[in-house]
């Protein structure tokens, strides 16, 4: 029972690590064709350890992966402008409905 919960949590950690790694790869490699190549390489690296069953081994692999991601992450990742990490976040908040500007 708790084993399934641990595996679940590990699955989620792996997915988030993969997601962040993909986004930062796109930040380093800005053009699409090299990005697809790098993404395939990244996916192949993740797939090598696909069939590991032992929970502790998976834990060690995840920790190693996250450490490597910390080393190689992009210093200024691109974020969608209106997102909380983006540039225009809360730049022009919508005015309340009762305010009208008259010129």
């Amino acid at each position: 029972a708790s084993l399934a919960a641990r595996r679940d949590a590990q699955r989620r950690r792996v997915c988030r690590l993969y997601r962040k790694a993909l986004h930062h790869t796109l930040d380093w490699v800005i053009f699409r064709e090299p990005f697809y190549k790098e993404a395939s390489k990244l996916r192949a690296r993740f797939d090598v350890n696909k069939d590991v069953v032992d929970v502790d081994a998976i834990e060690r692999l995840i920790v190693k992966g996250e450490a490597e991601f910390k080393k190689f992450q992009h210093p200024e990742p691109y974020a969608v402008p209106w997102s909380p990490e983006g540039v225009t976040y809360a730049r022009n908040p919508p005015l309340p409905a009762e305010v009208c500007i008259f010129y």
Binding site: F46, W82, E85, G86, F102, Y103
Partner: protein, 98 residues
């Protein structure tokens, strides 16, 4: 007088996209994934159960959504987008989907 009562310096109203357009584009993105069999793809496919995709494939598809609709999808929300109707729902309701 065109400026009278118009809040032209504040954020414009974001309407998002219609359900039908969201469905079309979501299906297009899922079809573009190399591991997806387009014959098996229906409006209510579940990525992992019906299409036999891996969780990492789902991550790739969600990233495709993020890029296509110019959205920011936080991790907790992205965990839940595991089927075509869930994705269409999310995109159609999002006010900033382009």
């Amino acid at each position: 007088w065109g400026l009278l009562g118009r809040r032209w310096m504040s954020a414009p109203a974001q309407d998002g996209i219609s359900e039908k357009e969201a469905l079309d584009r979501v299906m297009m993105i899922v079809k573009a994934h190399p591991k997806v069999n387009p014959a098996k793809l229906t409006q209510s496919s579940h990525f992992m159960n019906d299409l036999g995709l891996d969780s990492l494939d789902v991550v790739e598809i969600v990233m495709g959504f993020e890029e296509e609709f110019v959205l920011y999808i936080p991790d907790e929300v992205a965990d839940k987008l595991v089927s075509v109707p869930a994705a269409v729902d999310f995109v159609a309701k999002h006010p900033k989907a382009k």
